[in-house]
């Protein structure tokens, strides 16, 4: 009995328990509302269905959120990713639109290279402001969030830049092995980031810097370099997401591309269990968070509620997740239930309190 209780406790206190519950509830609600929701169809060798759509549409958000995860793990935040999506997408589309043959693979690859290159430079700019000049991340990236939109519109000259390049379009709506290519791209980037962070010591060092910056400095870590690096990585992720968004609609709109994506990405990271204060990060949690957000959006669409109203639900989710994570909220609960434990943690180190 107590064993089962302990197991139940372990399950409910797992950081992904509530996100998974919400996701399952959403899927169930969809199925109840529209029984065909879960069905998959094979047409022309491609799989179709609501679930596939959710996966495909969440790909750009997953990408941005993965980069954001690393930034948040260092205790920072990157508000500029939405603008970076717009810029990189716009540059790629602009380059392709100037090609004599828009379908040439070489031209598309150069376009991707250009878009990525510019994003890396802008990411380095963010990194410079945060790691070298020492401006608060939220403020430093706000600059590019504002100016970046203008830059994106400057590139597209305020027009919606339409292109007709099959290789580029494939990034957004192409298929591979019966599944959308975008899913594989997002997966590839996720695996790449997971490999880079977990096979090298990057992940450990990011978590160390985010978890305790002073201790990390005294352990001999050069935190400036790492901080710089995560902003560049975040920009790179945003660039790929930007390609995907523009490829989806075969056009670049400097104003609308990637709008709000920074907020969704932050939300996905937080839902995934990575604390905004930095420290431990969870790439799989972030992916789950992104899927949850996309499922929510799709659900709202499916139920014929206007997409903007989906924001209402998002607001509720943000607050709920943050409350569950907030130490202040938890403490209130803990105090009510187990007063002894709560006071013990407070006075565990009387000296530390005294010096504070």
């Amino acid at each position: 009995m107590s064993n089962r209780q302990a197991g139940y406790r372990a399950l409910t206190t797992h950081r992904l328990f509530w996100p998974v519950v919400v996701l399952v509830v959403l899927l169930a609600a969809n199925t109840a509302y529209r029984p065909s929701f879960l069905s998959l169809q094979l047409r022309n060798g491609h799989l179709y269905g609501s679930l596939i759509d959710i996966l495909r549409l969440s790909a750009p958000l997953i990408l941005v959120a993965l980069g954001m995860t690393l930034v948040i793990a260092t205790g920072g935040i990157d508000l500029s990713v939405g603008s970076l999506c717009a810029i990189s997408g716009a540059i790629a589309c602009l380059h392709i639109s100037r090609q004599p043959d828009q379908n040439s693979l070489g031209g598309v690859l150069t376009a991707l290279g250009l878009g990525l290159g510019v994003a890396l430079v802008l990411g380095a700019w963010n990194g410079l402001l945060v790691a070298v000049i020492g401006i608060q991340p939220i403020i430093a990236t706000l600059i590019l969030m504002v100016a970046g939109r203008g830059l994106a519109q400057l590139i597209t000259e305020g027009q919606i830049l339409t292109i007709n390049a099959e290789p580029y379009k494939a990034i957004g709506v192409g298929h591979l092995l019966a599944l959308p290519l975008a899913i594989f791209l997002a997966l590839a980037v996720a695996v790449l980031i997971a490999t880079v962070t977990r096979r090298t010591a990057l992940g450990l060092i990011i978590e160390s810097v985010g978890g305790n910056a002073r201790a990390s400095r005294l352990a001999g870590i050069r935190s400036g370099r790492i901080t710089f690096l995560v902003y560049v990585l975040s920009a790179a992720c945003a660039a790929v997401a930007g390609f995907m968004m523009t490829a989806n609609v075969s056009s670049a709109d400097g104003n609308a591309a990637g709008l709000w994506v920074e907020l969704d990405a932050i939300l996905a990271v937080v839902i995934g269990g990575t604390s905004l204060a930095g420290g431990r990060f969870h790439l799989s949690g972030t992916i789950l968070g992104a899927l949850l957000i996309q499922t929510l959006t799709t659900t709202v669409y499916a139920m014929n509620i206007t997409p903007q109203t989906a924001l209402l639900f998002k607001a509720v989710v943000v607050i709920a997740v943050c409350l569950i994570q907030a130490p202040g909220f938890r403490a209130r609960f803990a105090r009510r239930r187990t007063p002894v434990a709560a006071s013990a943690t407070i006075t565990e180190q009387p000296k530390a309190q005294v010096s504070a």
Partner: protein, 329 residues
């Protein structure tokens, strides 16, 4: 920028450091205006200045509220959505036939109520203002479309009168009622910050919240108050916007919070809190307004240049704050 840094350098020894950002903004404003006057003959018309106020009155009011929040070291991302929500609520209620006075009252209550709630969550649960007001932003924007998917025109007599009334001199120059309301808000806010305990507590909390608590200041109450004030200002801004456009549209004022934050920062308020003036915010809004006017006058420059210029100015002023901050220690 060179003139700017020159001015800063010359006055360095005589002026308290906290005044430098505001003076830099004032210099920038004069330079921008000077450029306008020298380039375009029509720019020297005083009505150009009045138009800047008319076009940006609602922005000014919202920026005043944001100044309170930023002075405490917080941030309020919800203001753009609250502006839109207020306009939507007014338009909707007027269409439903409620009397104008009642509509005004309700519309002016919604914003502060949301601000109050956000302030409570920020204070009691110790969640970052950024996240809480982000949720508030989602919520308010969601409410807009929940009320209506499309724009609702306003035909109410009071609203149209407010919209069309011109207060001016015989020379033909005029301002709208909104400008006067905005000025009134500015005056009340400036008085509050300078002469009330609430205002002084705002500065103290922005300077050092731990100290403020140890000095026995009501930190929690003040925090909640500034978000409520910001909500109220956003609500007034929403009303002014609905006077201006005579409608409520669900997607109006998207991204406005960024302009507002930019105006406050350009106006010399330090984003980490504790230093800044309402007067600076007025200047900041004017700088944004004059840039927009310049771009309009030029004709060849496109609207997105204003975003790029604002971003550049943000960078310059944040860097200036950073430099001053270093010299502080």
């Amino acid at each position: 920028m060179t003139t700017l840094s020159l001015l800063a350098a010359r006055t360095w020894s005589h002026l308290p450091r906290r005044h430098i950002p505001v003076l830099a903004t004032l210099a920038l404003l004069l330079v921008l205006y000077g450029v306008g006057v020298s380039q375009y003959r029509a720019f020297s018309n005083i009505q150009v200045v009045f138009n800047v106020f008319i076009d940006n009155g609602f922005l000014l009011v919202v920026a005043v509220g944001m100044t309170f929040v930023i002075l405490t070291g917080g941030i309020d991302l919800s203001v753009g959505s609250v502006v839109a929500m207020t306009a939507m609520v007014s338009a909707f209620l007027l269409r439903e036939g409620l009397p104008a006075a009642l509509v005004l009252l309700i519309a002016l209550l919604v914003g502060p109520a949301l601000g109050f709630l956000m302030g409570c969550v920020i204070h009691f649960f110790d969640i970052q203002p950024f996240i809480v007001t982000l949720a508030g932003m989602f919520f308010a924007r969601g409410m807009c479309t929940f009320i209506s998917d499309s724009s609702i025109p306003i035909t109410d007599g009071f609203w149209t009168r407010m919209s069309q009334q011109r207060i001016g001199n015989p020379g033909g120059n005029f301002v709208s009622t909104s400008v006067l309301i905005a000025f009134a808000v500015v005056a009340v806010a400036a008085y509050t910050l300078a002469y009330t305990r609430l205002g002084r507590n705002v500065y103290a909390i922005g300077g050092n919240p731990q100290s403020a608590r140890l000095m026995g200041l009501p930190v929690g109450r003040t925090r909640i108050a500034v978000y409520t004030i910001s909500g109220l200002c956003a609500a007034i801004g929403g009303i002014l916007l609905s006077f201006y456009t005579l409608s409520g549209a669900p997607l109006i004022a998207v991204g406005m919070e960024l302009d507002v934050i930019a105006a406050v920062v350009i106006g010399g308020t330090v984003l980490t809190g504790g230093s800044g003036y309402i007067f600076g915010t007025v200047l900041g809004v004017l700088v944004l307004g004059v840039i927009q006017t310049l771009i309009t006058f030029d004709g060849s420059l496109s609207s997105w240049w204003s975003k790029i210029v604002i971003g550049g100015l943000l960078f310059a002023f944040i860097l200036l704050q950073r430099l001053l901050g270093i010299r502080f220690k």
